[in-house]
């Protein structure tokens, strides 16, 4: 955070004296049924780090896609360094000095780092001596990269470096970053911030999109806030509280979750995992090694870690999609279920929300009611003697839509018609309303906006208060720190011992995420 104050040297007064780099005027873009951008104005000056804030569906992604030439605006003007421009394609954007690092990386898994970077360069001249230039740039900006590695072997942080180096090779004047830290450890994020500050100091403007308000307050000097396709406010995030930023985003007061819970240390253990080891069924998966933990009634256990350290496998093992070797490896309310599949575990009172909502958490081509039936038919008795009780199913799906504020035309809408955040709300609601005794949730608020995330958090806490044992597997550290009573961290398929949240610092968790042994992490805490 000390570094963050350092960048504050460039105050708003100075910022205004820097030349205007990108000017958007009256940008309007409509999709069938929604106005994604409504007369948006935005100015970005050379060398500034500018935050673009907004809920899901506020129009941020549409706007940056227009700037990067992926989409064409219906109306409005774009000026670059004072000249009016039409950006007809990403290649044209790159020619104008605009680079973009996507949220979901546009990388090719089967190709090498050098090939991936070559694909993002427009001309043969730009691709000359590529390998040596990759090494030079990655060294000078502290972004270590081996040009000959194949992408699927790389961690998410390394993959992001490819995208950044790809942009830097073209000496961009404007770098667009779409949610860059959602997959990084706190240490990796700090390194990224140092790189971005250095770029800004060299005169490159950065347009930074993120949900993480604290991060924006530490990094950015100006913030533009969007809501429902319009720019609603502009402010200096360093002088604005995170709470105020969030309220500007959602246009309403944010209900802070009531965290008055005190789990009973003597409550019965509802979910017990003992020495669970498992070979991954995925191609480049991570095997699980000796995982043990227990969750008591009324308790929330948070499991953190960088994506791809075995969380997916742990989720599959807990839900029964991969069976454990020993029946006793997993016990629900004292019943050994290690060799029992998902349906049997649901019968024992457990519910699950997988990470991937499309195709895993929901069938996209089915209606919400049918999707509700698929997971809740037993616990909510939605079928009788093999026949579907249509009325009860519709009522149940309607209840989920109502209680979890799912924005949809109704329970007969197809799952594919919902936005990602809304579908997530529906899936979480569908499981919570089955009143489970044990709930395992992966990434409960991934891609969900601040208002909806608060509602989901509240529902999870209410469920714990009602006596359920809850496991939350999430990469969002803030979320875990807020919700969980105890936190454990996955690294290389091993789980650190769970410790009470009050005893853990973010730095310690960061070390554990990087695979440090618990002792070393504790030493770091002590120093």
């Amino acid at each position: 955070m000390g570094e963050a104050m350092g960048s504050g040297a460039l105050g708003p007064a100075m910022a205004d004296s820097r030349p205007l780099l990108l000017g958007l005027k009256g940008i309007t873009k409509a999709f069938p049924g929604c106005l994604a951008n409504d007369a948006v104005d935005l100015d970005i000056r050379a060398g500034e780090i500018h935050a673009l804030l907004g809920e899901n569906g506020a129009g941020k992604s549409t706007l940056v896609k227009i700037v990067y030439g992926v989409l064409q605006p219906d109306a409005g003007e774009i000026t670059i360094a004072g000249e009016m421009r039409r950006i007809s394609s990403p290649a044209a954007a790159r020619d104008l000095g605009i680079g973009m690092v996507f949220q979901h990386f546009s990388l090719f898994e089967a190709l090498t780092v050098a090939d991936n970077i070559a694909l993002g360069l427009n001309t043969a001249a730009a691709r000359r001596d590529l390998r040596s230039r990759i090494v030079a740039i990655s060294e000078s900006y502290g972004l270590p990269l081996d040009p000959d590695r194949v992408v699927h072997d790389l961690s998410v942080g390394e993959r992001q470096r490819i995208e950044i180096v790809r942009c830097l090779l073209q000496k961009p004047k404007l770098l667009i970053m779409d949610e860059p830290t959602s997959v990084l450890t706190p240490q990796e994020a700090d390194n990224l911030f140092a790189t971005l500050r250095r770029l800004a100091a060299e005169g490159c403007a950065i347009l930074y999109i993120s949900h993480k308000l604290e991060e924006i307050r530490a990094l950015c000097e100006r913030a533009t806030i969007m809501r429902q396709g319009r720019v609603v406010a502009s402010c200096d995030p360093r002088a604005t509280s995170a709470r105020d930023l969030a309220e500007m985003m959602i246009g309403a007061e944010l209900a802070a979750p009531a965290h008055a819970r005190k789990p009973d240390a003597a409550a019965p253990v509802r979910l017990a995992v003992q020495d669970l080891s498992l070979r991954s069924n995925q191609q480049f998966g991570v095997d699980l090694h000796d995982i043990s933990f227990a969750v008591r009634a009324g308790e929330i256990l948070g499991i953190g870690g960088i994506a791809g350290n075995g969380q997916g496998e742990l989720m599959a093992a807990l839900s029964g999609e991969i069976l454990a070797l020993a029946p006793g490896a997993i016990a629900l309310d004292g019943v050994a279920v290690g060799r029992i599949g998902p349906d049997g575990r649901r019968r024992q009172g457990a519910c699950f929300v997988p990470e991937e909502r499309n195709d895993h958490g929901a069938v996209r081509d089915m209606t919400l009611a049918e999707n509700a039936l698929l997971s809740a038919y037993r616990r909510r008795r939605l079928s009788r003697m093999g026949f579907i009780d249509r009325l009860r199913t519709l009522l149940f799906a309607g209840e989920v839509v109502e209680d979890f504020d799912v924005r949809t035309s109704g329970p007969r809408a197809e799952a594919r018609s919902l936005s990602g955040g809304n579908l997530q709300k529906f899936i979480i609601g569908r499981e919570i309303l089955q009143d489970p005794g044990i709930l395992v949730v992966a990434q409960p608020t991934w891609g969900v906006d601040a208002g909806a995330a608060a509602a989901i958090h509240q529902a999870l806490m209410d469920l714990a208060d009602a006596g359920a044992a809850i496991v939350i597997i999430s990469q969002d550290l803030d979320e875990l720190m807020m919700l969980a009573d105890r936190i454990a961290v996955m690294a290389h398929g091993r789980l650190s011992p769970a410790r009470p949240v009050a005893e853990l610092s973010v730095a310690e968790i960061g070390l554990l995420m990087g695979g440090a042994q618990p002792e070393r992490a504790e030493a770091a805490h002590a120093s």
Binding site: F105, A110, L119, R127, H152
Partner: protein, 308 residues
Amino acid sequence: MESAVLVSILLSVIAASTPLLLAGIGELVVERSGVLNLGVEGMMLVGAIAGFAVTYSSGSASLGILAAALGGMAMALVFAFLTLTLQANQVATGLALTIFGIGLAAMMGAGFVGHPVPKLPGLDLPLLSAIPVIGPLVFGQDFLVYFSIAAVIGASWFLYRSHGGLVLRAIGDSHDAAHAIGYPVIRIRYLACLFGGAMSGLAGAYLSLSYTPMWAEDMSAGRGWIALALVVFATWRPGRLLLGAYLFGGITILQFHVQTMGLGIPPQFVSMLPYLATILVLCAISSDATRIRLNAPACLGRPFHAAG
């Protein structure tokens, strides 16, 4: 005497392998771009009759070969329009293309059955072609045999050494990412499909102008399907395709010789050999999933919707 038998066996192996190689290398490039065209058999047959009909009518084998490539491309264009522009299912469209091609070729060829054409001339170099064994094998082949080898080398160079090939592989690996960077996914897939069609057409021309210089209904006899299997066998790599095509051609010829040796094995079992080998090899390859994942185009057969 001994060497004459050997030469004739090796010549027949080359002849049996060449159509597989031509069609296979075309389909390999198509699949590398992420498109699965199961219509190889149909495109081959249309190429075979187009090549035969033009050669028979004009007397020019060169024109015939050109017509065969164009015939295959016309079929591929139909497939590309249906699957890439209209987003039809690739598997169903490919199967339909094969059935359509068999019927179309039979109709076009109805008047040509039983009329022979001169076999494609082989290379005839002074001195070199006269060398025993090596002469006829290396310096006495026809244009399409040399072309098939050149196509493997060319495809390998294109895929792994040129920027265009890198773009093509990238599109097969992730069409969404390629689109986001700004590459024209649909246009490049069209070009790949047309190349695949031309190569299948040439494979057909080899059958009707060189292998057996005549037209017979359904004369490809499943070679299009074997070429498709070979692409998987080769795990989408041109060098291995060359190996696979000659291995398969070798087994096909071996089967004739085993039958004439009179080992007492019923001929039906012996003729199963090539197909049995295909199944065994495919099973062996799919057991090593890592190798498949490293080379298989991840977007194979998936339709591309250009979303914003």
